[in-house]
Every structure is written in structure tokens, then in C-alpha cells.
Symmetry: D2
Subunit: 115 residues, 4 copies
């Protein structure tokens, strides 16, 4: 994979990280933050793995396949949790996380596993 082939997935990861971190800081300001406990927890998890995935792709890590599979799994879990909440920042998270999961799967299926 070259830098150009990764670009779409890098962009999707950045948007997901951005949406998750925005939802996280927004949740911390919400009146009903008690209902957002699990959402906040997953927002942080998702932002962290997306950030990790971006770095891994830009340095052409030989482990991109495994890293992106993990990223897709965490994005899906975050999207599922976000879909339980009506807050705008949660709704924005769903789309960004689902798109990211899809982009990650596309690459991880295409990349040969390190061996």
C-alpha cells in the first residue's frame, strides 16, 4: 500500500477521532452526563485507536491489517453506543465511526498480513 491508497482511510480515521473527541468534551458539559457514561468511555477508546491507526498508516506499519481490524471493531462499538443517545454530538459520532469502520475493513482486507 502507498500513501495515496491509504489516504481515504486516514481521512476517515481523522474524522472519527474528531467526532469522538468532540462528543467526549461535549458530553462532559451535558446536564445529563450520567446517561453518557458508557458513551464517554467509548469515545475515548475510539479516538485513541483512530489516532494510533493514522500514525501506523503514515509510517507504513507492517501491522496495518491487524491495527485497522481492531480500529473497525472499536468504531462499531462506539457507533452502537452513540446510537442510543439523541444528542447531536452523539449522532455525528455514529456516521463518522461507521464510515471509519468501513474504510478500515476495506484496507485490512486488501493488505496482506505481516508474515
Amino acid at each position: 500500500m502507498t500513501r495515496i491508497q491509504y489516504q481515504e482511510c486516514i481521512d476517515a480515521c481523522l474524522e472519527s477521532m474528531n467526532a469522538c473527541n468532540y462528543s467526549y468534551v461535549s458530553s462532559l458539559k451535558e446536564y445529563d452526563l450520567a446517561s453518557l457514561r458508557e458513551s464517554m468511555r467509548l469515545d475515548r477508546e475510539c479516538a485513541d485507536i483512530c489516532s494510533y491507526a493514522v500514525q501506523a498508516m503514515t509510517r507504513q506499519s507492517p501491522f496495518v491489517a491487524g491495527i485497522l481490524r481492531l480500529c473497525a471493531e472499536i468504531c462499531e462499538a462506539c457507533a452502537d453506543e452513540s446510537s442510543k443517545h439523541i444528542h447531536t454530538h452523539c449522532q455525528e459520532c455514529i456516521d463518522a465511526c461507521r464510515r471509519c469502520a468501513e474504510a478500515c475493513r476495506l484496507i485490512s482486507d486488501a493488505v496482506k498480513v505481516y508474515a
Copy 2:
């Protein structure tokens, strides 16, 4: 600072991380990598702090000022080292790192230090 105000700096950090990581993996393939020891070392340092800075901005960290000052310092050091080498990937690093340092200083000067 809002997400929108950070966007230019986030983009500059991403380009710098990308250029540094590309230069890093390219250096590992060079015939004369012995001459690129310090450059490779600083590429990794610079990519890591740029990645950190991006996450910090997207989560609206109260410590953005200090983080971006540090990022600017490391970007400058990486650009200085890269300017000693004629390889294309080193030359690309110089511009990306200098632009990033400038963008980081602009924000860190504007943001009130956490107190």
C-alpha cells in the same frame, strides 16, 4: 478556541507527521542510511509529537498552549536536521515542519495558558 479555529493547525500537524513518517520509512530504505541517523531519530520524535498535538486539539485540551509550543520546538529541530540532507523526502520534511512550527506558535500565542 473552537474546532474551526484549530483546523489550520491540525492540518499542518498532520502534514508534518505524514512528511516525517514518510521520510523515516524512506530513510530506512536508503543506501546511505548511516548519514541519516539523526534525521531518522528526529523524524520519529516529530511524528509522535505532531500526532499528540492533533489529538490534544481535537479534544480541546486545556494544555494546548504548552503542547503546541513543544511541538513547534521539535518541528524546528527536525527541519534543521532535514535541511542537511539532499534527499527529496528530507526536503519535503523541511517545508512541512516549518509550516507546522509556525501554525503551532500562532495558536499557542493566542491561547491563554491553563491556570
Copy 3:
């Protein structure tokens, strides 16, 4: 600085990261988590910079001085916020963060700035 000279500071950073992350996940389970908003936010910031500082020390980063100064600053802020709360996990945070800030300052004062 050698690995051995960093060891005490590495340990202090690890304890601080551990205490902050424990306080973070504990806060998410608290009945009164609304009162812990700022504490949770700083716990994450502190855990992240401590983790970053540990990696930087183990790879003998030439920017350790600046990184540890930043780490000390964030640890102090986290300790100050934690001291406003009576929860056991917050109290544990205070000590770990203050010790870490002290250890970071000791090293950052001793290390020559990269130049």
C-alpha cells in the same frame, strides 16, 4: 542521561498514569459524576502525557527536558483539581501526580535542552 538515571522518573510517571486512569474509570461509575467533570478531563490529560513521557524517556528522546516540564505542569493541574474531591481515587491521584511532577522537574532541570 542513561536508562538507569531515568528509572525513578519513569516509575513516577507510570504510577501517576495508573492513578489517573483508575480515578477516571472510577469517576465514570460515581453517583455524583457531575461534580467530577473537570477531574475526569484532567485525569485523561495527565494519563496521556505521563504515557508519552515514559516512551520518550525509554527512547532517550533529545526533547526529554521539554516533555517532562510539560508533564510536570499537567500533573500539578491534575493534583490541584483532585484535591477538591474527597473520593479515595481522587486522593490517591493527588499524591501520585505531585510525586510525578517533582520527579519530572528534577530530570528536566538536570537535562541539557536540545540545541
Copy 4:
């Protein structure tokens, strides 16, 4: 899993990160660093995922199983590559990485996958 149950794995990850980063900086100083290209590349990969795994365990991430499986895979690859080199820092890496891989598998097999 509690903090105490993770402790052995956290320690193994820290030792692996430490050994990999030490081998990385030592490789950069070697006369024959050209023969250590792949080793340096994997040292960085391994140090990064170990650092990530430590943070994930201290914040009781619900994705610890997947993260540690990935960490074990990368540790094994790094140990395999290190075993091709006679340098002391490479030999130290083998043991640390193998122990870490084993500790990660022990936990990831025990932890229920997030669902």
C-alpha cells in the same frame, strides 16, 4: 479484570517497550546499522503497541482482549527479527518480547471480548 490481575502483563509490556526502545537507539549508533533496518522498524512498532497496551490496561479498556492479541503478534514478529542479530541489545529484545507476547496471550484468552 482488576488492576492487580493486569499487573504482570503491564510489567511485561513495559519491559518489552523498554528493551525495544533501547535496541532502537542503540541500533542508530551501530556501525552496521544497514543490517538492522528491519529490526529498527519493528522495534518502533513494538514499543508503540506496548505503550498503547499499558495505557489500555490501566484504563480498564473494554477492548483489552483485541489490543493484547495485536500486541502479542507484534512482539513475536519483533522477537523473530531480533533473533537474526547478534548484538546484545537485540538479544535482550528477544526475551522481553517473547515474555510480553506470552503475558498478553494469557490475559487476552482470559478476558471476555467486548460485546
